[in-house]
């Protein structure tokens, strides 16, 4: 048991350390704007720290809970935290990752960012804004609700939201499919790709305007 606990602790320490470095480099002022450039830059920094780590899906899950429960992590900024978690998922050795986050009080933004082809990420619980943006062929399943800008800029792959989804869904998406089990609150300006609501094709279709409220 000691061995399991110690190795878990060591991995968690390294994951925490990487996140703290990311915050130091990217969110010094505790204000972090979601812009294309900042996301790309933050992801590059996150990649730098995550690439060398050896960890499992359980470590990622534990890190998500540690973000809001432990005193050891200085602060939770949903943007960088989501980018960092996405990088952890994308660089994990497992192809299939299940994160049981239904007990998490915070809805993490940007989960599933750039999920590559061949990866299957399943989140149990709700996610925040910008879920699955820039998806790169992976399969993202959210067993819960997702907020606004889901699938924005995705290039390929599949997003399945089992419950409801917010506004600007699929904004500037260039390919791939979004399946929503519940209601879609509003679509964004979609370039290419498909959006389904309860198995009914919503886009391309007779959507008069983006952001139509149902």
């Amino acid at each position: 048991m000691d061995q399991i606990v110690h190795s878990t602790e060591a991995v968690m320490d390294r994951i925490r350390w990487g996140y703290e470095r990311l915050l130091e480099e990217e969110a010094k002022e505790l204000v972090w704007m979601v812009q294309y450039n900042t996301i790309i830059k933050a992801y590059e920094v996150a990649e730098k720290y995550v690439r060398e780590l050896g960890y499992t899906a359980e470590d990622i899950e534990e890190f998500c809970f540690a973000l809001e429960n432990t005193q050891r992590i200085p602060y939770l900024i949903p943007g960088p935290a989501g980018i960092y978690i996405s990088a952890l998922c994308n660089y994990a050795s497992e192809e299939e990752i299940v994160l049981k986050l239904s007990e998490l009080k915070t809805e993490i933004n940007l989960v599933g960012f750039r999920l590559p082809k061949g990866k299957h990420l399943m989140i149990e619980g709700d996610t925040g804004d910008f879920t699955g943006i820039g998806l790169e062929g992976g399969e993202l399943v959210i067993d819960g609700n997702a907020k606004n800008w889901t699938g924005a800029g995705m290039r390929g792959g599949k997003i399945l939201i089992k419950k409801n989804i917010g506004l600007h869904t699929g904004e500037w998406m260039m390919g791939g499919e979004i399946y929503v089990g519940g209601r879609v609150r509003g679509l964004g300006n979609i370039v290419e790709g498909k959006v389904y609501e309860r198995e009914k094709l919503l886009y391309p279709g007779k959507v008069r305007y983006p952001n139509v409220y149902y």
């Binding site: 048991m1 399991i4 606990v5 602790e9 534990e62 049981k100």
Partner: protein, 545 residues
């Protein structure tokens, strides 16, 4: 016959067990035969091997007999006792830890029954793991041979993983793939790190919750009770009255949040009522109607603070002698228990206390007078039943201080007194009645009816007054005038600073019998000295002045 046999096994192994567990203060375990079972007890008697009441471990003979084909009786008994002893020596250790773990689990699962199950499983995992890791024990063998339900299978598989011992759980037994995931997640928890139990039980609860829900569903479908815990159930029966008392006190101090305390106390209300905490029936009078969690919170929190009282030369002379009996209630001092009429037992409603009276003698002795607590419960004060009220806490501390000195306390709780917003309690030493009036909240305007106060003070030269308010009183000038006339010792506590408090302070800055304190934080409460008269406290200064 079997009972005698089991008892002799216990007597034989008990010295070895005591040595192994570093001589815990636990009485010799007993054996209960199946025939001793009461009629109203559940039928699955053979499924529970151990009972723990206060510190008495009782082995169920029927369970041991049922296990005899699987493992030797000595080993079954030893394993059960190892488990039971570890609950007292490691986890949960005390009632406070038990409550803390339960509260942490409840935050995750949100349901009373589920939280109790989670904390019970967690406590068992810790106790068994501690025992396996630190002592030589037959617990693994017991687990190998126990009848297992769905959750037991998962926990046994966890044991295999963290103990590195084969318990005969085949991967196919775990069935669904999700369960191996659960075991993997559970194995990451640092069970033996006491400092992280709070965080660990939340992780444990999150992981095991789907299984518990599944089991609950199955139970509901079958319309029956679930599997009994063969290693004994964990409830308040484990703890003595003093341990429950201490646990509640520590928990109130640690949380300092009324809502959290209330939540936990209400969840355990049935058990607490059984332990004599039924406030409506009076503390210490057996089963009451309900546990007033708000009152209990202030009662237990106040016990953490000790306010000194300056004693006063009283007219009465002589030393105290036992005069009459009164029933012992939880929280009352043990030194006054009459062990002869209580038959050596500490039990609310049964145990009796000596009430002491002063005898006749010569000369003046120092004593503590009775106290009248005047408490403001107007709209500008915090509602003590919604959040922590420093006024009620301060008044509760003063109450305890006077009652511990065998004095009586009267209460005048006021809001808009002329309009009926008041509650008056005559001098009494019944703690729960005093607390009931202190916790009352009117929430209206603030005005004192001095005519109500006069009869409470008249003719009582040696009476202390304790007033606790924010001083935002409509007829403050009348109150100042009234206090200006009396010679009694007055301790005035105001909550926070405001111009009215400044006016009050200014009016009495030269009065030596009136002492004013400000309470802004709970840390300010112990700085209050009740009945402090400046000249009494420092006679040389007063003589010089």
């Amino acid at each position: 016959m079997e009972k005698q046999n089991f008892q002799s096994i216990i007597e034989q192994i008990w010295p070895k067990l005591k040595k192994k567990h570093l001589y815990p203060e636990i009485p010799m375990p007993r054996v209960r035969e199946a025939s001793e079972k009461k009629e109203d007890e559940p039928t699955e008697d053979e499924d529970v091997g151990l009972e723990m009441k206060q510190k008495q471990l009782t082995i169920n003979g029927a369970f041991v007999l049922q296990m005899k084909d699987k493992m030797p009786q000595e080993k079954v008994i030893e394993a059960l006792l190892d488990h039971g002893i570890t609950h007292y020596t490691f986890c949960p250790w005390d009632f406070h830890t038990h409550l803390r773990l339960y509260a942490a689990a409840k935050k995750v699962v949100g349901d009373k029954e589920l939280a109790k199950q989670v904390s019970n499983h967690f406590i068992d995992v810790i106790a068994d793991t501690h025992c396996v890791k630190k002592r030589s024990t037959e617990i693994p063998e017991l687990h190998r041979n126990l009848k297992k339900g769905m959750i037991d299978e998962v926990i046994a598989s966890l044991y295999e993983r963290i103990w590195g011992i084969d318990l005969g759980i085949s991967p196919s037994k775990l069935g669904v793939k999700g369960r191996t995931d659960i075991v993997r997640r559970l194995a990451r928890i640092p069970y033996l790190d006491r400092s992280r139990w709070g965080e660990s039980i939340q992780k444990f609860a999150r992981t095991i919750k789907p299984l518990l829900l599944e089991e609950q569903k199955e139970k509901g479908a079958q319309g029956g009770k679930g599997e009994a815990n063969p290693q004994g159930e964990h409830d308040l029966n484990h703890y003595s009255s003093e341990e429950i008392d201490q646990g509640l006190r520590d928990y109130a101090r640690q949380t300092m949040t009324l809502s959290e305390f209330k939540d936990v106390v209400e969840d355990f209300s049935d058990e607490l009522r059984g332990a004599g905490y039924g406030m409506e029936g009076g503390i210490g009078r057996g089963h009451g109607d309900s546990v007033d969690a708000d009152m209990l919170f202030y009662m237990k929190l106040a016990e953490n603070y000790s306010i000194p009282i300056k004693r006063l030369p009283l007219e009465e002379k002589g030393s105290l002698h036992p005069h009459s009996h009164c029933p012992w209630e939880i929280g009352a001092p043990f030194q006054d228990v009459d062990i002869w009429t209580s038959f050596g037992k500490i039990m609310p409603g049964f145990t009796q206390l000596w009430t002491k009276r002063e005898g006749k003698g010569r000369g003046k002795i120092e004593g503590t007078p009775d106290c009248l607590i005047v408490i403001d419960s107007s709209g500008s004060m915090i509602n003590p039943r919604k959040s922590l009220s420093y006024a009620v806490l301060g008044a509760a501390c003063a109450t305890n201080a006077y009652l511990h000195n065998n004095s009586r306390v009267g209460v005048y709780n006021f809001s808009d007194a002329p309009m009926g917003g008041k509650d008056i309690l005559n001098y009494t030493n019944r703690r729960e009645e005093i607390y009931r009036v202190l916790c009352k909240y009117f929430g209206g305007g603030t005005a004192l009816e001095l005519e109500d106060l006069k009869p409470l003070i008249q003719g009582k030269k040696k009476l202390d007054l304790f007033i606790i308010t924010d001083m935002k009183i409509t007829n403050l000038e009348a109150l100042i005038g009234f206090f200006g006339q009396i010679q009694n010792r007055v301790t005035a506590v105001h909550i926070g600073d405001n111009p009215y408090a400044t006016r009050f302070e200014k009016a009495f800055e030269k009065r030596k019998n009136i002492n004013i304190y400000t309470v802004k934080r709970t840390e300010d409460i112990p700085h209050i000295v009740l009945g402090k008269i400046r000249e009494y406290f420092n006679p040389t200064t007063s003589k010089n002045s």
